[in-house]
């Protein structure tokens, strides 16, 4: 029996079938990926059902919430890398539209790295505020509260509050100087304190502009695309932009003036819903607070500011001794502030580590993606002879 044709087509059929099965698996993986992301993101709004009742859900834009958000992002990133980038036929990366979308995603990654660095500095600033608040807490926890304690607390709180509410532009003005002028004691609030908070980037760098550049070319995919990869790439980029945007809105960092209160996210995807909801909420808050300057929307910062203002008021009207209802009020406020300091001290250290981890992962992910692109390029570019 001639071995040629029949066998040939039989083998062909098997390999087509095998390819088809593999293809179906790939599509399934991609859909699973999207589902996982959707599930995790909705945990930000509604805690999972098996959470014990005693654990309250994290307040949006608190340190704990951010830690969760970054955790979610790191999981998504890991899955994205496994499912979308590695272990698949990367030839499609060279064809439209991925040949444009993937480099755009890589470009966003670079901007995200800079934002991570700015956020790291921002966290330092938050620690600085915490330390100031701690001074006030320590003084006002003395019993009984004396004039000395109150003055000390007020001094710290005044510094804290003016640092929180100072305008970005005004701060740039200070960091330009390299020679501190010889000072008289009443200049202490301006010299030294704000200059210590100099920014890591050149004056022209703006977190707001970076975010805008990242989101401006994030176009909703139109669908009907054969590889099924366009949507996952869009997903990863969207989540990246959302995470960066939230961090910039909450944590003080260089030049947030002009941060848009709105992110373009397409409603058609299930995973986008939680982000859209959150982003609307955060956007509202941002619009309200934007005028007030650099403090950012972080819940703990807001609380510090409020408590700080109240305690300064108390300090201004202080008469020794403090008794009765007043004493109770003050004690309560001080206890609350102490708690916030504690939360900040622990939480910010952990958050800082997460941001560094985020940085590392983005670097690695980018390198690996570039490697894959390189390989594919080599395979498709013939040795020219």
């Amino acid at each position: 029996m001639p071995p040629t044709d029949n066998q040939g087509s039989f083998l062909n059929r098997i390999s087509i079938r095998r390819n088809q099965v593999a293809y179906e698996h790939e599509i399934e993986d991609l859909e699973q990926f999207q589902k996982h992301v959707a599930d995790r993101l909705s945990e930000l709004i509604h805690p999972p059902e098996d959470t014990p009742a005693a654990d309250p859900p994290e307040t949006t834009l608190s340190i704990a919430w951010f830690r969760k958000l970054l955790d979610i992002f790191l999981c998504c990133e890991a899955e994205f890398k496994t499912v979308v980038i590695m272990g698949r036929d990367a030839n499609s990366f060279l064809k439209s539209p991925l040949d444009r979308l993937i480099p755009e995603h890589l470009d966003r990654s670079v901007k995200a790295l800079d934002i991570c660095n700015a956020i790291t500095q921002g966290i330092e600033l938050l620690q600085h505020w915490r330390k100031l608040a701690q001074i006030a807490v320590d003084s006002l926890q003395q019993k009984p509260i004396g004039e000395g304690h109150v003055k000390r607390a007020k001094k710290a709180l005044d510094t804290l509050l003016s640092s929180i509410t100072i305008d970005d532009k005004e701060n740039h003005h200070h960091t330009g100087k390299s020679t501190p002028a010889p000072t008289k004691s009443n200049n202490h609030a301006t010299i030294g304190n704000f200059k210590s908070l100099s920014y890591p980037f050149a004056r022209s760098w703006s977190a707001a502009k970076q975010i805008q550049a990242m989101s401006s070319n994030l176009a909703t995919p139109r669908g009907g695309e054969p590889t099924g990869l366009v949507v996952p790439v869009y997903l990863m980029s969207s989540v990246l932009v959302f995470v960066m945007w939230s961090m910039v809105a909450a944590i003080p960092c260089q030049e947030r003036a002009g941060l848009g209160a709105h992110l373009q996210l397409s409603k058609q995807f299930s995973w986008a819903q939680p982000m859209i909801g959150l982003q609307e909420k955060i956007g509202e808050e941002w619009k309200k607070k934007e005028k007030k300057g650099r403090s950012g929307l972080l819940v703990e910062t807001q609380k510090l500011e409020k408590l700080g203002q109240n305690l300064v008021e108390f300090a201004d009207g202080f008469v020794f001794p403090v008794e009765g209802e007043k004493a109770e009020e003050v004690t309560e406020m001080v206890v609350e502030m102490a708690e916030i300091c504690r939360i900040m001290e622990e939480g910010l250290v952990a958050l800082d580590m997460q941001v560094r981890e985020l940085f590392s992962r983005i670097v690695r992910g980018r390198a690996e993606t570039l490697d894959v692109l390189d390989q594919v390029n080599k395979m498709t570019t013939p040795v020219p002879y």
């Binding site: 004396g146 920014y199 890591p200 670097v363």
Partner: protein, 617 residues
């Protein structure tokens, strides 16, 4: 002796007198700029009050202890201002003029008498800070009692400088002691940190440390980036070994043994952010795009940082600075990875270098020069690269199903280091590429000359560098030599077989019925063919170029050795036949000497003027 109460009263009075929130006079002057007596009185007063505070129980709410408590706060606020003031008056950026690139041991003595011009030619090494001359001159003019800058050495490369004159350090310590004892350590640390950090910032500016984002760095042209890396390396050495080390020493001098790790806290407040900013640049470089031309600068950066690691570990030894040490180590390994990637990238680029335009005259291809220069540099860097490159090259047809890809049999090169294997592979790949390029020549002979030229160039380059030769090995060198000789032989055949065919004996003699002799017609044809072919070859191949003199001469001699005897013998046997015919000059165009001269034109790369060859016979 005064009663304790009296002493306390007096102490409080002193403190209250210096309360700047109520007294104009107190605002106008600084205690620590007054005379020693004034300073001592104040400090003593503070001590007195503090002592009293410690002896009473905290919950006493009588008026007296409240007043004392208030006095402490006033004193601490005052001391904070004094502290800040002393620090601010010594916050000038570091002296860089006296530091050389290698930070070799130097004795820096008082500069009070140095001329202005010395400072105006400030060392461009470190870039220009805005207030450069103002600061350094300012330091001279201030007329402080001790401007001697002496340098200490705690490790072989660290140089600590005195950032603040010792009497001010003493004052600062006196103040810190009181503040910490009174529980005002936080305020103390904050003031210290904020002033010293801005001093470090202005030193950074002076050293040329820039604030570039990763995005900025990605966008820079390589030449610009190259220069910045060099500048950064010089600056980083000074920052770690001098600047940070000096800050640490200063913290120790002021805060050591005052309890609660104040010295470490102050040090971190001062340098953590600047250190991160410094290393961010190196980090950005380590993640930037990998292109082969960056390899050597990346290696420089890698080596510089590796060199700095022990100093970084020494300066940032505390637990709280662990992240800085970790970051530095990570950057070093990323740079190593980048270097490895660039080497691979290079190999790939050599393989796929696509230019098809043949080099005129078959001379050395720019790719060959570039690659050999690159390889030479690699051998210069063999110490570092040798350690980084731990596996051999990916060879063979991994990248293409086509079997016509270069291959390397590793067994041929046993015992060679991975780096050496890479070098050999690069040469293999280069040859492969050159072979392909040679096929674009329409003339096979030229293709062979091209190959011969280029491989010979490779051989010469290897021979010219002992390190390179040692790495590549004489075995492979011999193989390469064989290759270019082979190309020469192929050239010979391609060009000269045809020409010499004209001078063969067969076919000229007739054995026929009418005459046994030479066919004059055939002979004339032969001469004509030879002349035409030789003229053609001569004209064309004179334009070709063999740049290496020795190689050129060798080939010319080789041509002569076959051509001249053959022609001489041909002429000898058959010229009479032509000369007895009509117009012999149409057929015998060349004398033997003519040919000998003509051969010297070959491969010179110059056009020959045909008419000057005309000689009457």
């Amino acid at each position: 002796m005064e009663s304790p109460d009296n002493g306390l009263q007096k102490a409080q009075q002193i403190v209250l007198r210096w309360d700047s929130t109520v007294s104009e006079d107190a605002r106008a002057r600084m205690i620590f700029q007054s005379d020693r007596q004034e300073i001592n009185d104040y400090l003593q007063a503070v001590d007195e009050i503090q002592h009293f505070m410690e002896s009473i129980t905290v919950s006493d709410d009588d008026q007296k202890s409240q007043k004392v408590n208030s006095a402490i706060q006033i004193a601490m606020a005052r001391l904070e201002d004094e502290f800040r003031n002393i620090l601010i008056s010594h916050a000038a950026p570091i002296e860089t003029e006296s530091l050389t690139e290698s930070i070799s041991p130097i004795h820096m003595s008082s500069r009070a008498s140095s001329s202005l011009s010395e400072f105006n030619d400030s060392d461009d090494y470190f870039g220009r800070g805005e207030d450069d001359s103002v600061h350094t001159i300012g330091n001279l003019v201030r007329g402080e009692s001790s401007t001697t800058i002496t340098s200490y050495r705690s490790t072989s490369s660290i140089r600590e400088m005195d950032l603040i004159p010792s009497d001010s350090v003493y004052d600062l310590r006196c103040i810190a002691e009181r503040m910490i004892t009174a529980g005002y350590i936080r305020e103390c640390v904050q003031v210290y940190g904020s002033v010293r950090k801005s001093a470090v910032d202005s030193s950074f500016k002076k050293l040329g440390v820039e604030k570039l984002s990763i995005g900025d760095i990605q966008r820079l042209q390589w030449e610009v980036l190259n220069a910045k890396i060099g500048k950064w390396i010089r600056a980083a050495k000074v920052c770690v070994r001098v600047l940070f080390a000096s800050e640490k020493r200063l913290c120790n001098l002021i805060f050591e043994d005052l309890g609660t790790d104040a010295d470490d806290a102050c040090f971190m407040e001062t340098v953590k952010a600047p250190a991160i900013q410094l290393f961010n640049f190196a980090e950005a470089i380590s993640i930037s795009k990998r292109s082969p031309e960056k390899l050597f600068k990346i290696l420089d950066l890698h080596d510089a940082l590796l060199d700095l690691l022990p100093d970084i570990d020494a300066v940032f030894e505390s637990k709280s600075s662990e992240s800085i040490r970790v970051q530095a180590t990570e950057i070093v390994s990323r740079l190593a990875e980048a270097a490895r990637g660039m080497l691979s990238e290079f190999e790939n680029a050599v393989l796929r270098e696509p230019s098809k335009v043949p080099v005129p005259g078959g001379t050395i291809h720019p790719l060959t020069r570039y690659v050999m220069n690159y390889i030479s540099l690699i051998s210069d860097y063999k110490q570092t690269l040798g350690e980084l490159i731990v596996s051999g090259p990916t060879t063979g047809s991994r990248y293409s199903d086509d079997s016509s890809t270069p291959d390397m049999d590793v067994a041929d090169h046993e015992g060679r280091s991975p780096l050496a294997l890479h070098l050999i592979w690069i040469i293999i790949v280069l040859q492969f590429n050159l072979e392909g390029k040679s096929k674009h020549y329409k003339d096979n002979s030229l293709a062979y000359v091209f190959i011969m030229n280029n491989i010979h160039y490779i051989v010469q380059k290897i021979k010219g560098s002992p390190e390179l030769r040692e790495m590549i090995g004489d075995g492979y060198l011999k193989k390469l030599t064989g290759k270019y000789r082979q190309a020469a032989t192929k050239y010979q055949r391609a060009t000269w077989v045809g020409v010499l065919y004209c001078l063969r004996d067969e076919g000229l003699h007739m054995t026929g019925s009418f005459s046994s002799g030479v066919s004059k017609t055939a002979l004339r044809e032969r001469f004509k063919s030879f002349n035409a072919m030789f003229e053609e070859v001569h004209k064309m191949q004179a334009l070709w170029l063999i740049p290496d003199t020795q190689l050129r001469e060798e080939l010319q001699i080789s041509i002569s050795e076959r051509l001249i005897p053959a022609y001489r013998s041909f002429l000898g046997r058959f010229r009479t036949h032509i000369e007895h015919g009509r117009h012999p000059e149409n057929y015998i165009k060349y004398s033997v000497e003519d040919l000998e001269m003509a051969v010297l034109d070959f491969f010179e790369g110059n056009a020959v003027n045909q008419h000057s060859r005309r000689r009457s016979n």
